[in-house]
C-alpha cells in the first residue's frame, strides 16, 4: 500500500500554546483512519492543519511537515490543496443557495464542469453516491437551508465529491444527527473508501470500530496509540487507550 499522507513532527499552537505535540502519522491510500479522543485533544486542529483551513487564523502557528504524495502541503497553493483534500465540518454548513447550486458552485468556479447537461449529470451522480437523490430530486431548486440536518450533512458530502478530491476529512460528522441519519452517513463513507482516502474524527468509539481500517487515539495533543482498528479495540497497548474505549474516562 502507498502512503497518501505523511505527517512529520507536526506541532500546532494557538497563541503560542501547544495543542498538538510532535505528531507523526502515515495515512495509507484508500484507507479510513479514525481519530478518537476526548474533547480538546487536538483532533479538529489536526484536520484543519491538513487542508490548511487554520492558516487563516492569526493566532495559529505550526512546526513540522506534512506530505501529500510526497509533496510538502505547506508549499502548495492553498486552493489546489483544498481541492485535493476536502473537508466536512462538524455542523452541516450548506451554502445559502439551492441544493443544485450547492453542488455545482465549486465545480463551476474550478472549471470542472461547464455546460448544463454535464452539471445535471454530476448533480445526479453525487447525490446518488450519498443516497440523497431520491429524497431531493423533486426539489433541487429549493433552498438547501430547508432540508433536514441529516440531509444537509449528506448534501455537504455530495458537494465535496463534486470537486473530486483525493482525501476527505470528516470532523465528527454525525455528532448532531439521529441514529438513522448517522447510519446513512456511515454507509456513504464506507462506499467512498474505494475511491478516496478518508480521515474520520469521531467522538463515537463504536463508529470508529464500525467503519475504519485504522484508529488513532489522541489525548491532550499527543498521539497515544495508532493501530489497525480491530487490534486497537481488542488489545490496546496503552492503558489510557483502554480506559478511553471502555468508557472509563473522557
Amino acid at each position: 500500500m502507498v502512503n497518501k499522507i505523511k505527517v512529520k513532527n507536526l506541532s500546532c499552537y494557538y497563541n503560542k500554546q501547544c495543542v498538538l505535540n510532535s505528531l507523526n502519522i502515515n495515512i495509507l491510500q484508500h484507507e479510513i483512519l479514525s481519530i478518537i479522543g476526548p474533547a480538546n485533544s487536538g483532533k479538529t486542529t489536526f484536520l484543519r492543519t491538513l487542508n490548511r483551513m487554520n492558516d487563516l487564523n492569526v493566532n495559529y502557528s505550526r512546526k513540522g511537515e506534512i506530505y501529500l504524495d510526497n509533496n510538502n502541503i505547506f508549499f502548495m497553493n492553498m486552493e489546489s490543496l483544498r481541492k485535493r483534500i476536502g473537508m466536512l465540518f462538524e455542523m452541516p454548513i450548506p451554502l445559502p443557495m439551492s441544493i443544485y447550486d450547492n453542488i455545482v458552485y465549486a465545480p463551476k468556479l474550478l472549471n470542472i464542469v461547464s455546460n448544463k447537461s454535464d452539471q445535471d449529470a454530476m448533480v445526479e451522480k453525487v447525490l446518488k453516491n450519498v443516497s440523497l437523490w431520491n429524497e431531493v430530486k423533486d426539489r433541487l431548486n429549493s433552498s438547501a437551508m430547508k432540508i433536514s440536518g441529516g440531509q444537509q450533512q449528506r448534501l455537504c458530502i455530495a458537494r465535496i465529491l463534486a470537486i473530486n478530491p483525493e482525501v476527505i476529512l470528516f470532523d465528527e460528522p454525525c455528532s448532531g444527527l439521529d441514529p438513522i441519519s448517522t447510519a446513512k452517513v456511515e454507509e456513504s463513507m464506507i462506499r467512498l473508501k474505494q475511491k478516496y482516502t478518508i480521515v474520520l474524527v469521531t467522538n463515537n468509539v463504536k463508529q470508529a470500530s464500525r467503519v475504519s481500517d485504522k484508529t488513532a487515539f489522541f489525548l491532550m495533543g499527543k498521539l497515544i496509540e495508532i493501530n489497525e482498528t480491530g487490534k486497537l479495540f481488542i488489545s490496546p497497548q496503552k492503558k489510557q487507550t483502554g480506559d478511553y474505549i471502555t468508557g472509563r474516562f473522557g
Binding site: E79, R82, G86, F89, L95, A106, M145, I163
Partner: protein, 285 residues
Amino acid sequence: MIKLSPRLSQKISYLLLFLATVLAIVPGLLIISIIIAKGKDVFFAWDFLTLMPINGMLDGGIFPAIIGTLLLIIITIFLSLPIGIGAAIYLNEYAKDNLLTRMIKLSIVNLAGVPSIVYGLFGLGIFVMYLKLGVSIIAGVLTLSVMELPVIITTSRSALKSVPYLFREASLSLGVSRWDTIKYIVLPNAIPGILTGVILSIARIAGETAPLLFTAVAFYTPYLPHSIYDQVMILPYHLYITATQIPNIGKDRIFATAFMLLMIVLTMNFIAIIIRIYFRKNRKW
C-alpha cells in the same frame, strides 16, 4: 410605600411607554403635515418645480435647486460607493488584525462623528483652494464623499460581518479562492445591508448645507450647470436663504421648497425599505 398590584403597575408602565412613543412620533408627524398642508398648493402647481427662479427668487420655480441637489447626491453615490465598499472589503476580509489596522478602524469610526461644518472647511481648504477646483459641483461632491466614506465603510463592514463566517469556510474548503468566495458568497449576502445603509446615509446628506456652503453652493444661478466645474443651487440652502434673506416672499413658496426636500429624502428612504423587503424575501438563511 404604596404597593401597587402587579396588574395595575403593568398597566401604568404600559401607558408610560406608550406616551413615550407618542412623544417621539408626534413632532415629526406635525412637521411633515404642516409642511404638506402649507406647501401643497404651490407644490402641485408643478410650475414651481420646473421653472427657473425669477424676480430675485420671488417668482418662478426651484428647478435648478432640485437639479443641483439630485446631481450632488447621484455623483456622490457613484464616487463614494465603490471606494467605500472596496475599503470595507479590504478591512473586513483581508486586513491582518494588527496595530495599524486597528488604528485605521478606530479613526474611521471617529471620522464618522466629525461635525459636517469641519468637512466643509476641509473641502474649502483642499478642493476649492489648494486643488483650485473653485466653488463647484466637483468640489462639493468630493467634500460630500470624504464625509460619507467613513459612514459607508462602517455600514458596509457591519453588513459584511453579518454574513456568517462559516459560509466563507465552507466555500474556501471546497478549493474556491478567497476573492471568488467574497464575490459569490459574501457580497451577494451583504449587498442588501450595504445598500440600505448607504441609501439612508445619503438621504441624510441630501439635507446637508454645511459641507456644501463653501464648496459648491451658489446663492442664485440663472442657468443650469453646464459642467462639474459650475456652481449649483441646492434645496436646503435655497430654503435657508428664502426663509431668512428675502423679505416679502410668499410663505407657501418656502413650504413648497421644504416639501420638495422632504420628498427627495422620503423617496430615498422608501427605496431603501423596498430593497430591504425584496432581499429579505429572497434570503435563504
